[in-house]
Every structure is written in C-alpha cells, then in structure tokens.
Amino acid sequence: MGRITAGMTHEIKNVLAVIKESAGLMGDILSIGQETPFLHRERFMKILDTIKEQVHRGSELAVQLNRFAHCADTPFVAVNLNELLQHFCCLMQRHARLKHVELKVLPHEPGLTVNTDPFRLQLLLSSCIDSCLKQLDGGGTIVLHPESSKGSVDVQIWLEANTIQEGEESDRAETLGEDFSELEDIQSHLGARISPLRGSEHRGFLLGLALRK
C-alpha cells in the first residue's frame, strides 16, 4: 500500500508541476505583452497568483503524503521524534481543524532519536489524538512533546481545552485509558505503553507513550 501511495504522490506532483508551468507561461505571456491594452490583465495575474499558491499547497501536501507512504517501507528505523511529530501533525491538522483544535509540537531540545516502527507509531499517535479530540468539543489545543526518561522515550500528549469544567479532568482521563485496549498488539510490537499521565503542570489530559530506545 505504501509503495502504491508513494507512486500516486509522484503522479500528483507531476500534475501540479504541469499546472504550475502552464500558469507560469500564461504569466510570462501576459508580462511580454504589457504594452498591448488588455482589460483583464490584473485580474488574470491575481488568478495566476492564486493558482501558484494552491499548487504550492498541494505540493506540500503531496510531500507529506509521500513521506507517510514511505514510512511503511522499513519496519524498524531510527526516527527523529521532533521531525516525525511535526510531520504527523501536518497529516492530522485537517482532522483536528474540523473540531476547532490546533495540533502543536513542543520539540525536544536537542532532539531525540529512537529505533521504532514509524508507521505503527503514527497509528498509536492517531488513536491518542482521536481520543483527545473527543474530549475537546469546545475546541482547544493538543500538544505533543517528546521527552526522555529512565530507559525510555516518552511522547507526551496533552490537551488545552478552551473551556473545561472543574473536576472534569480526572473523569475524562479514565475514559481515555479505556480507549487504548484495542491497541495492545501494536503497543507490544513497539514495546510501547499508553497511559494517562497525571500530576502535570499542564491543564487538561496527558497521555504518555513510552518507547524502547
């Protein structure tokens, strides 16, 4: 599936390249004939700018999709967590935006690298995000932060709800714990665990994802 998707992203980029060059050529032709009066020149140029912007947007999306497709190529590889989380947030951004939620990465300094299965790790992360989104009906922010701890690397995921009732946090944390029982196989494959993370300075929930280095 990864190979097929990667091939399709290549085709998408080719299509975008044709659109971009065609729009560029149209712009060139309009610029060459500037002395000739043409009523809609400015309007055309504006439309061409929009096409270029959208091509750029589409191209960035294709890059992210291509990267996601290739992450299934090798089961265990060295993964830079800051980069993976940034990429993952790009993939999930639209999903979150529909619920008025922003996804943010608080990167680890100077960065953490773990040997893991990036595809399955992203499956776990997306389940975590899905669970978090269910708790953020009023919108908010989900923060992802990689951190090293004794013998493991954690990805902390916490919520910053726009509105939250007092006493609601602990109830919701229990609910989050239940959501991950179906992911036991993936967790054991990765040597990972997902658990509610408590006692944090951050408001809202914390999900810790522990990984073997």
């Binding site: 290549h10 085709e11 060059e21 065609s22 560029g24």
Partner: protein, 125 residues
C-alpha cells in the same frame, strides 16, 4: 553572452514543452524530448551544454540517462528533476555524478540559476 543550449527530458509532454517555452522566453535555447532514448540519440548529433532530466520515466530512467552520459559525454552536466517528496533519489544521482537535483514543481528562475552555474563550472573544467 551566447544562448545556452539545454536539453530537457521528461515523459510529461505538457510539462516539458511548457518549461521549454518558458526558458526560451528567458533567452535559454531549450529543446524538449519525452524519452531517455530519444535524448541520447539527439545528443550524439546536437550535444547540449546542459541536460535537465526527470528521474522517473518509463524506459530509460533519469539515472540511466545520467549513467550513459557519464560514459559517453562526461563533459555535459546533468541536472536531475524529481517529483518525489524524499531527496534520496536526488542524492543517489549526485553520487553517480549529477551536477545537482531539483524538486518538482520547479521555480523557473531557480532552474535558470542552476543551469548557468552548471555551464560556468563545465567551462572551467
């Protein structure tokens, strides 16, 4: 300065012909072909100063064209184009002797800069 002769190779006919026209408008003598085999045949009779070739093509790939040129015409610099998100293929190409690689969609001005750099370098060697 005389017109730089560039051969563009890409199986996407709309892309390569439009790009050639845009380069021509900017004073570059660009010719477009849509296969590696056609490019290699043409180069024997009309050698360009720079070759710009897409990596992913049916038949002879961009890397095949690069390798053939390195054997027969090592003096012609080759710029690779890739539509892939990863830079791996481009880096592999540079290891095989490509002058540089660029990602699609391109910025035509950046391509011209790259072409001019390639011509400058090849004229020194």
């Amino acid at each position: 300065m005389h017109e730089i002769k560039v051969l563009l190779i890409d199986d996407e006919v709309e892309f390569v012909s439009t790009l050639a026209e845009r380069l021509q408008i900017r004073g570059i003598g660009a010719t477009a072909v849509t296969s590696g085999a056609a490019a290699l045949r043409r180069i024997e009779f009309v050698p360009p100063q720079v070759v710009v070739v897409d990596l992913m093509m049916p038949g002879l790939s961009g890397l095949d064209v690069l390798q053939a040129l390195k054997e027969r015409h090592p003096e012609i610099p080759v710029i690779l184009l890739t539509g892939r998100g990863s830079t791996k293929e481009g880096i592999d190409g540079m290891r095989l002797g490509a002058f540089d690689y660029m990602m699609k969609p391109l910025k035509v001005e950046e391509l011209i800069e790259k072409i001019e750099e390639a011509v400058k370098l090849s004229s020194k060697t």
